[in-house]
Symmetry: C2
Amino acid sequence: MNFESLLPIWSKLTPSQQERIKTSVVPRTLGKGAVLHNGSVDCAGLVLIRSGQLRAYILSEDGREITLYRLFEQDICLFSASCVMKSVQFEIMIAAERESEVLIIPPYIFKQIMEESAALANYTNELMATRFSEVMWLIEQIMWKSLDKRLADFLLNEATLENSNTLKITHEMIANHLGSAREVVTRMLRYFQTEGYVKLTRGSVEIIDLAGLEALSDT
Amino acid sequence: MNFESLLPIWSKLTPSQQERIKTSVVPRTLGKGAVLHNGSVDCAGLVLIRSGQLRAYILSEDGREITLYRLFEQDICLFSASCVMKSVQFEIMIAAERESEVLIIPPYIFKQIMEESAALANYTNELMATRFSEVMWLIEQIMWKSLDKRLADFLLNEATLENSNTLKITHEMIANHLGSAREVVTRMLRYFQTEGYVKLTRGSVEIIDLAGLEALSDT
C-alpha cells in the first residue's frame, strides 16, 4: 500500500508510528451509495481514498440535503474520524458517489499518533482548513449568488466530473446538492431549456449550450 | 500576564517555547469598531482575548455582511493568524464590538512553536473545529430556519449579551448580522411589533414579550 502518496507526511512519522498504521489499517471497498459516516453515529477513522468519489453533505430533520464538498482519489476524509476531535460539534453525512477503494486508519490509532506527532497534527490542521474553506465558499454562494448561477455552476461541474454533457440525474438529486426544493429546481431547469442552455428528458439533463451556461455562471 | 488561563496548553509547552512567547507577545487595546483582521491583507497573529468582544464576519463584493461568530474573554482568535495555515483559503473580517484587551502572539512564533509542539498543533485543531462548528450551525440556520426564527434568536441573544431588553441597534446592523437586506429586516420587525413582541423606536428595539420571542424561536 502506497502510504507515501496517500499520506503526504508519511516520511515525517517515526518507524514505530508507521508500523502502527501499517498493522492497523483496514482496506475497504464502498459500493456506490454506501454511507461511510452518519452524523454522530459512526466513527470509522481517518479515511484515505485510493479511488472513487465521496460526497459530504448535511441533512435536515425533514430530510432535505445540501452538498458541502466532494472527495476524490488521494483525498483524505477527516470527519469520518470526528470522534477524535471533541470540538467537532456538527453532524455530517459522507457517502460514496461511485464505488470507492479506501484505507481506514482506526480512530484510536489516529488519535494516539496525532498526540505524539506535530507533523500529523499540523497536517490534520491543513485538512480541516481545506474543508473549512470549501464550506466558507458554499456560504458565500448561498448568501450572495442567485440560484440560476449556482445551478449553472453545478451542471458545468457535473459535466466535467462525468466527462459527459448528458447528466443522468433527477431534479430531486440536483435539489439535494443545492439545498433547494425540487419544484424550484424544475422551474429553473425549464427556464434554462427555454433559453436553449439544456434539453430535459426523463432522468437526464443534456447541456446543449456550454458557452451560454459558462457566461451565466460568470456574471 | 496570565498565560495559564488564556492558553490552556501553556503547561504542555517547554520552558524555551514559553520564553519565546513571553518575549514576543504584544499587548494591544482595540477600540470599539477597530478592525483586527481584514481578509488576506492582515496577519496579526494568534490573538488571546483578555477582555471585550470581537465579531467575525464575511463581506460581499457589494458590501453586504453576515456574522459568522463572536469571540469573548478567554477566547482565542485563530484566523487573525490565517497566513500561518496555507490551506485557509477564505477571507474573513474580525472587528472589535466593544473595547477589547488582547495579547497577540506574532505569526512566525506561533508557526515555529506549532511545528515543534504536538500539544499546540492539536489545540489549534480544536480551535478550528470549534469555529467550524459555529459556521456549520450558521449554514443550518440559513438553509433550514426561516428569517422570523433567526431574527427572534438574534434579538434574544443580543439581550443576553447586552444584559438589557432595550437594544441600541439599527435595522441595517441587524441585517448585517443576519446577512439579509435592511428592508426585509424592517418588515419583519414591524410584524414583530404588531404581534406585540417588540417596540420600535429610532435606533433601538425594545423587547416587550420575551416569552413570545422564545416560543417563536423554539418552534
